[in-house]
Symmetry: C2
Subunit: 418 residues, 2 copies
């Protein structure tokens, strides 16, 4: 295959595959997912060998340890990928469901049928498990997928994708349903993002700069994922114990993920009493607290926050804290700095709870719960391809249903328009 | 206002307005729509005066008659705009509806609440009635709107938009909810399409070149509307009378619209008997038929179709006709040439009807009905802002619900993630 034409050729194959995928029965897709899972386990050594090349290469380039950790596979991680595919097989297939059907006065029956989107491009970075997750979710939802992983993981991705594609093909999935772009040049992904008519949707998964590049350059529709500058507002009537537990959970349980809390806003009426309790607990867990002027007056041990802190997604054991006059100021602050991911109010006041739910314009708005629940699994979707922080098509955790669209099916008996 | 900054400044105002719009009660929005309707009628002379300028200007530039007709307003058309706003007031407001709510094992109640999209940009051409329609639909669905009409209708649009914005403001709608961009330079719309963070969605309404420009240049999400190369397939078992009536309706009732049929595919088993009936009727109604080789053999009076005909949206009294071997060839042809708008099968065969519904990947797929029903009013949505031919977010006629998105609202009682 000529290198320069790779993405175009694969997108054309995917387009043809997508048409066949759309009418596949669920049981064929499930069998394929099961045999893809088996194939991963059977080929653990092959995958580990390829992965070893990537890891050595990365070490040679002095890539930082946390990235190498994301990149590195072991038997356990590969088995987890296989289990992920089996879990997807067990989920309900949304394709073909008619969600509503209504009758018009002229007798036309109009229904809304779930159908696959078509060809989905996934642009991602160094985690090779995305290759299996994305292939599985796209397959189950009847979409052809074009995977474009980062150069760091290219050997691992080639190994995984080829094992999956072969197993799928053997199980009756059309050729071209799962394809990986092997050319890791930047121009290749730029060409991919212009293939309107061949690719229906691009989902970027990765850091802020990857996402920004896709949004700015793609003419194919994009679903923006991931960036989460999440807030928790501790209202005047909050139960301190609950507020503290929720904040600790949202910050500490897994600080490196998008639904972790980054800024806590505290009602001034309870700041003096609540802040010392919260800061003590967080400090004991290794969290660096950066506070506004009032926070510093109450807890002199905290660092001073600057304006930059309000807009930072730390993804780390750091928390910004600000004392606010009232719920209005909290809403104002959230509206200014939130990335539209997840925000929570801790309150015992019904009116404020309802007001917060209504006014905050984020994918997930909570009362009295940790922001860490914004997740496909926790929402009951079984799996997710990412968390959308944009407003079009899908918002929040994207499961199988969010990888589909609908079409209208209209049953007539000769109706013509007057 | 400095001209070069117009769209940025208005987008910022719209962003602020959108936040307030999102929490407006329905009755305030309805009162505003009523008073906007009244204001249009009260200011008919002002609008006609502005429109007269546009028409004279267009005539000076020798703009073709059909465009001038679209541009020209009269009392009747203005009253129809006003009635349109009243009709929108009567529709159900989707904002705030919680469509589903489910309980997780940990007791969290998770609901999906309809919310406005935020700030919507409408880019359109010379029909000034779009100004009122789009303003009304966006207002009712809780969105702030930025209107960017064509230079041809600029005086009419300024008059209409300022009347609407004033009436809305007087009724308690926040300032900045309805704004028109007065600078009609091409660069202004190009800047508008890059205002990510300020504008949430752009909907282009107009001809193919306008839509193409928006898709290629917008970094803000876009919903593609309108282009319809629609097909009707006359199957072997079709009732001839029904097939003829549906085809005539789909071609002749209003040929200049996107849901009119452009190509008819006829099963070869009935071509000899059916084509003469169809061609005779169409010819008597002034339709030019362009047929494939076999069609020409059966009806020598028709013109010969070239490959170009299969891909043309005539929007005129012209129809392409092709005889196909079977339903497979029909599906193949549709898959190759359709723009994903509306397709219909005329058949008495249950299996083929189901197959067509499943396999055709268009926004609206019909059995035994005219493609002309693809329309917000005909589907029962009351009104529409356009017909989406893309797959993301909304497909087919877009009513009020399609101008909204959702957020998850989560009611907890202190839940933290394990």
């Amino acid at each position: 295959m000529e290198k320069a034409m790779e993405v175009e050729l694969k997108a054309k194959k995917a387009r043809i595959a997508a048409r066949k995928m759309a009418v596949l029965e669920e049981n064929i897709k499930n069998l394929a997912l099961e045999s893809m899972a088996e194939a991963l386990v059977k080929n653990i050594n092959k995958i580990l060998e390829a992965n070893e090349k990537d890891v050595l290469e990365a070490e040679k380039r002095n890539v930082k340890a946390s990235l190498i950790d994301r990149l590195r596979l072991d038997e356990k991680r590969i088995k987890a990928m296989a289990q992920g595919l089996k879990d997807i097989a067990a989920l309900k297939d949304p394709v073909g469901n008619i969600e509503e059907m209504w009758k018009r006065p002229n007798g036309l029956q109009i229904g809304k049928m779930r159908v696959p989107i078509g060809v989905i491009g996934i642009v991602y970075e160094s985690r090779p498990n995305v290759t299996a997750d994305a292939a599985g979710l796209c397959l189950k939802s009847g979409n052809a997928v074009i995977l474009r992983g980062g150069s760091d993981a290219i050997n691992s991705n080639i190994a995984i994708a080829s094992i999956l594609a072969e197993a799928a093909l053997r199980s009756g999935i059309p050729e071209g349903a799962i394809q990986l772009i092997e050319n890791t040049d930047r121009e290749e992904v730029n060409r991919m993002m212009k293939l309107n008519g061949l690719i229906d949707l691009i989902i970027p998964r990765g850091g802020a700069s990857l996402i920004k590049n896709v949004i700015e350059n793609s003419t194919v529709p994009v679903i923006e994922t991931g960036v989460g500058n999440c807030h928790i507002f501790v209202d005047e009537t909050a139960k301190f114990e609950m507020a503290k537990d929720i904040i600790v959970n949202a910050k500490v349980q897994r600080p490196g993920v998008c639904n972790a809390v980054e800024t806590v806003l505290v009602h001034k009426a309870v700041a003096k009493e609540f802040l010392p309790i919260m800061v003590r607990q967080l400090s004991s867990l290794g969290v660096e607290v950066r506070g506004c002027q009032i926070t510093k007056e109450i807890c002199p041990e905290v660092k001073e926050a600057t304006d930059k802190d309000w807009e930072t997604e730390y993804l780390d054991l750091i928390l910004a804290v600000k004392v606010v006059e009232n719920i209005e100021e909290a809403l104002e602050h959230i509206s200014k700095y939130s990335t539209g991911h997840s925000e929570s109010i801790i309150t015992e006041n019904y009116e404020n709870a309802m007001r917060f739910l209504k006014a905050v314009d984020s994918a997930a708005v909570y009362v009295n719960a940790s922001t860490r629940f914004t997740d496909g699994g926790e929402f009951g979707f079984g799996a997710e391809i990412g968390i959308s922080t944009q407003k079009m098509h899908a918002r929040g955790p994207m499961g199988l249903k969010e990888l589909t669209t609908y079409k209208y099916v209209i049953l007539g008996s000769g109706q013509i328009r007057k």
